[in-house]
């Protein structure tokens, strides 16, 4: 099943992330080798790749959690590596990061999880406005009934949704999804894919979706690319990327058992 309302020619839009000659190594292991990538306004860009190829490293560099060895990463017109702590925090308000394991604060209720970024970054909000923001994002992920539950009481799919809701509460311009469907059953995967598209439409976000799930890629991606041996092979539609003679791409496709 293809993504509905796929954006044609996102290249004509404004760039929100620009990555040039990005290199990152861990010891002797050169993970990213001169990576170049652009993310355009309001598009979903899927980054595919096997485990350990540096997909998560890429979005951690974009969000400033990791530092690159060389190269530039410009987010909303600001070079990440040149920002001081305070400017980086201000920029992060515009970047939502959905973690692979949701990373919910397990000592807090769902409400407290959602309020956490809000009370620290929107200090002038009244209690009523905070309540409205919390209810609004819970409504967006269809989990209003979980508001007073602890993360340990939620299912894997619910945790993912609450994790996404927590990032949405600051209304970010950019969403970074790290393996949004990993460890979920096929039905829940479809729901999460639908939610990613809903987020794009409702919040007008530009997103990078890191995954090795081809169904997720097909259903959520406006453009798709694949990280192979530390570099992106080609950026394009699902068909453009997989219509290739490259054995590495073909084998990745075949092992995903997709129709």
């Amino acid at each position: 099943m293809q993504k509905n309302n796929r954006i044609e020619h996102p290249e004509e839009r404004e760039k929100v992330i620009t990555i040039r000659d990005l290199n990152k190594s861990f010891g002797d292991y050169h993970v990213l080798k001169g990576v170049n990538l652009d993310l355009y306004d309001r598009e979903n860009l899927v980054v595919l790749g096997k485990s350990g190829t540096g997909k998560s490293v890429l979005i951690k560099i974009i969000s400033g959690l990791l530092k690159q060895d060389s190269g530039t990463v410009e987010v909303l017109g600001k070079e990440i590596s040149l920002l001081n702590e305070r400017d980086l925090q201000e920029l992060r308000i515009h970047i939502g990061f959905s973690f692979q394991n949701s990373a919910l604060y397990d000592s807090m209720t769902v409400r407290e999880n959602l309020e956490f970024p809000l009370v620290r970054n929107r200090k002038k909000l009244t209690k009523k406005e905070k309540d409205y923001a919390v209810e609004s994002v819970l409504d967006a992920v269809s989990l209003g009934q979980t508001i007073n539950q602890m993360p340990s009481e939620l299912s894997g799919g619910q945790r993912k949704r609450i994790g996404i809701a927590r990032t949405l509460i600051l209304q970010p311009k950019i969403m970074l999804y790290d393996e949004p469907t990993a460890g979920l059953d096929p039905i829940t995967c479809l729901e999460i894919n639908g939610l990613i598209n809903e987020v794009q439409e409702r919040y007008h976000t530009s997103s990078i979706i890191i995954t090795h799930d081809l169904t997720c890629a097909k259903q959520t991606g406006d453009r798709i690319t694949m990280l192979l041996d530390g570099q992106f092979n080609k950026v394009g539609t699902f068909e453009e990327v997989f219509n290739t003679d490259d054995e590495r791409v073909k084998s990745f496709y075949e092992y995903n058992f997709i129709e």
Binding site: K60, G64, R92, F99, N101, Y105, D106, P117, R120
Partner: protein, 246 residues
């Protein structure tokens, strides 16, 4: 080894930079103070009380030999305030609170909760480390004086079993020999112990390696290193106090 010491130094410097800069996490500091006090209170009460009884019982025969059992309240008071109460409180807190901080932060590190705080434009060092270190630094001195009081109560119970004495008379005899220097030295020592326990727990948890093994290691190291440093500090503090006393 030297690199690790450099990282510890950086961690401590970062604490002193962050502690004075806004935003201030007052609510979280209060919550942590309550947690630190609440977690240790039962064990500290029991240990302090038993120490008071046992110390009095063990000291009585030696003093009786010289007909000096009337000195018992003073002896217990001095021993409790100068060394036993700060040390006992610090060791129990290192076990209960230090391990808990190490495990909690280690677990948060492993499950990417600290990263999640960082990307949601919140300073995790300020929220997690500064609040916990301040909480232990504030609460452990309070617990120390509480331990001394409970210890005196235990001592009174033992004394009252052998001779007729009033509680107020016992307490005033105990406090007679305690000097202002004793109170100041114990307070400074307890503050130092509290700071050390909080700092060690936070450092171990915040820098724990990935995986569940890392969480266990962080909790264990928090206790072992915390207790070791408390003993070293006790020796140094005693030496310095003696310099002032002579």
């Amino acid at each position: 080894m030297f690199y690790e010491l450099y990282l510890v130094y950086q961690f401590i410097i970062k604490f002193f930079k962050e502690v004075f800069l806004p935003p201030y996490e007052g609510k979280e500091i209060m919550r942590q103070c309550y947690q630190v006090g609440y977690r240790s209170l039962a064990l500290i009460s029991l240990t302090g009380f038993i120490t008071g009884i046992v110390f009095t019982k063990q000291s009585r025969p030696s003093l009786a030999e010289f007909g000096a059992t009337s000195w018992l309240p003073s002896l217990v008071g001095i021993a409790l305030l100068r060394t036993l109460a700060p040390l006992l409180t610090a060791l129990i807190s290192a076990g209960k609170v230090g391990s808990s901080i190490g495990a909690e932060l280690g677990s948060m590190k492993v499950t990417e909760q600290i990263d999640a705080m960082e990307v949601s434009a919140t300073n995790p060092f300020k929220f997690l480390v500064v609040s916990r270190v301040l909480a232990t630094t504030i609460t452990i001195p309070i617990l120390t004086f509480y331990t001394a009081l409970v210890g005196l109560l235990g001592s009174f119970v033992n004394v009252a079993m052998f001779e007729e004495t009033s509680f107020s008379g016992f307490i005033s005899s105990s406090l007679e020999s305690i000097t202002f220097l004793d109170i100041i030295a114990s307070t400074i020592k307890a503050i130092l112990f509290g700071f050390t326990i909080g700092m060690v727990g936070c450092y171990q948890g915040f820098n724990s390696s990935k995986g569940t093994e890392g969480v266990g290691k962080a909790a264990n190291s928090s206790v072992v290193i915390g207790m070791f440093l408390v003993f070293i500090e006790e020796v140094l503090a005693t030496q310095i106090t003696f310099l002032f006393r002579t």
